[in-house]
Symmetry: C2
Subunit: 375 residues, 2 copies
Amino acid sequence: MENFTFCNPTQIEFGKDKEKNIGKYISQNGVKKVLLVYGSKRVIEDGLFDVVIKSLKENGVDFIAFGGVVSNPILGTIQNAIKIAKDEQVDGILSLGGGSVLDSSKAIAVGTLYDVDVWDFFLGKEQIKKALPIFDIITLAATGSEMNGYAVVTNEKTKQKFSIWSPLVYPKVSVINPELQKSVSKEYLVYSATDVIAHTIEGYFTAKVQPKYMSRQVENIIKTVIETTEILIENPDDYSARGEFAWAATNALNGTTTVGTAGFSFPNHLIEHSLSALYNVPHGAGLSVVIPAWAKWYYKQNEAQFIRFAKEIFEKSTALEGIEALESWFNKIGTPTRLNQFGLDKSNISDIIENLSYQNDIEKDDLEKILSNAL
Amino acid sequence: MENFTFCNPTQIEFGKDKEKNIGKYISQNGVKKVLLVYGSKRVIEDGLFDVVIKSLKENGVDFIAFGGVVSNPILGTIQNAIKIAKDEQVDGILSLGGGSVLDSSKAIAVGTLYDVDVWDFFLGKEQIKKALPIFDIITLAATGSEMNGYAVVTNEKTKQKFSIWSPLVYPKVSVINPELQKSVSKEYLVYSATDVIAHTIEGYFTAKVQPKYMSRQVENIIKTVIETTEILIENPDDYSARGEFAWAATNALNGTTTVGTAGFSFPNHLIEHSLSALYNVPHGAGLSVVIPAWAKWYYKQNEAQFIRFAKEIFEKSTALEGIEALESWFNKIGTPTRLNQFGLDKSNISDIIENLSYQNDIEKDDLEKILSNAL
């Protein structure tokens, strides 16, 4: 066990009808006026928007709505929102949607309190020292953003998909009602499943110190995702499976799977971020392409852990069999595993490599090998 | 998954030398003067006390020391401490020791801010609406008190061992340095192992709704405790095992194993609390006597979960084999499994039952059956 600091102060309100209390949660935190950030009109059409407005009004919380956040959220939208948040002098942000809306909300919560361009925080030029309090109702279980301090945003001009992290952007209160997540399409369900698995796999395979306790925690999340995804493909209304899927997603990136580990990295996410920044592929779909390709290149650097994975998750005995079983499972649930499923081929590899984040520490030659595994 | 609220704001500072920063953690929270609560002179003799004083002084935190807290901490000591804390006008409590010292500190943190007798909170006559901030350096991994809002105290006059819970007594910062825990005797190591297992087993076996995700979380903790206890009996200096044991202990009662479950109870703890209140047996030792006895009486009410336990933990196939395997493991590590190991026999059973907490919901006849299983 390596030394660590762990503190996750987010209050989770999990379960049926919890969204009806959102105004109470916000007013309890002393917030008077929120920027209500959302994405598509779906939240209006399905009635969630009205439920939220009613609760805000009942609790004396004023609001100004800001819609139109897209998947792989872009900087321009956030900059527009920050302008409005400043003009309207909101003292909190309420996110209504999935991880893209919430990540945008986090960036808005920071940017509203500064005069510099919010992208400077993503570039590491500025440090986050303050942020408005953030509240959310999460309508897609995937990113884990509802219980962590990360936000990932794409700069649509530079094609960079970068992230920030700060203890100040942990949501104050996150509402997770699995019922609100059942309208998610089958496509986005399986992309989400991949994303959750990816969040845990990164540390599991790359950490130089990996306590067994943490390995089992990760395996629990992966087993839960596999079991519940299969149930939900058959029956999207299975509340119990939806609930366990959602809670596994939250736990996959709330810090509990990596405490005490050391020296881990996010190679699959870094490679995928380049892919989705360039070609706007869904994040989870990009990950299911990258993971098996990366694993086939990487596994010998930590073979014991890959064998452990193969045995625990798929009852296989070798590292490669485990990776292949994961790839087969991705195929089975219907998330892509090859670049050609995005209409990409060998000719795109150099662009993907060129666009890779500055934080990347894999050599160009190796990136080419990895991406070639995905052809 | 049942509806739940989860919020655990305790900051964990885990690892080597973290105790050297305790003054910084306290001053960062705006606290100027602490009551420094400890138990035996061991913390003075082994130098920890001096390390703490140095850090307090360096960070401008004043203190007044209060020693002499015993295992199964008693009300009288706490009442004395509250008087001193009031006289000295401390604005925080620093606990230096194991769960008994920390639980006492929590009661002191509440009592110092009230004029009524602190026992009224344990009796449910008064509600906790304020408490001084609590900091701790935990020197024994067992109770999980370092990351929760529970405190258990014995009223030595009435022989009642009762508990409080409040979000206000979650420690602000808990220091867990596994190195500070290696001087724990083998005896207390195995009692602690039992206590940790007990914390998870209660919900695991009694919950009416038990998501699989939560079952696996519990099994992870139990597997970790079994593996690391065996290593530590052989080699108390194994830092890695000590660290995983400590972190499993913290996680066993920080709320993460019971979220989404419903209708669970703490029958083993309630029965044991009567046992240790009457005969002052170590809590963990009492639990290893009660658990197999209770399980043999109870298992048919939730046989599927007992079979799961048998398979997952001991690779056995029936509920009873699983219970017997657990009992054998208790015997193997050297924690008691029969009342006669405390010098008690059939004649004591009625006294134990008589003394049982008001919260108990098992019939007298059944309690007699359970305790008879422990003869």
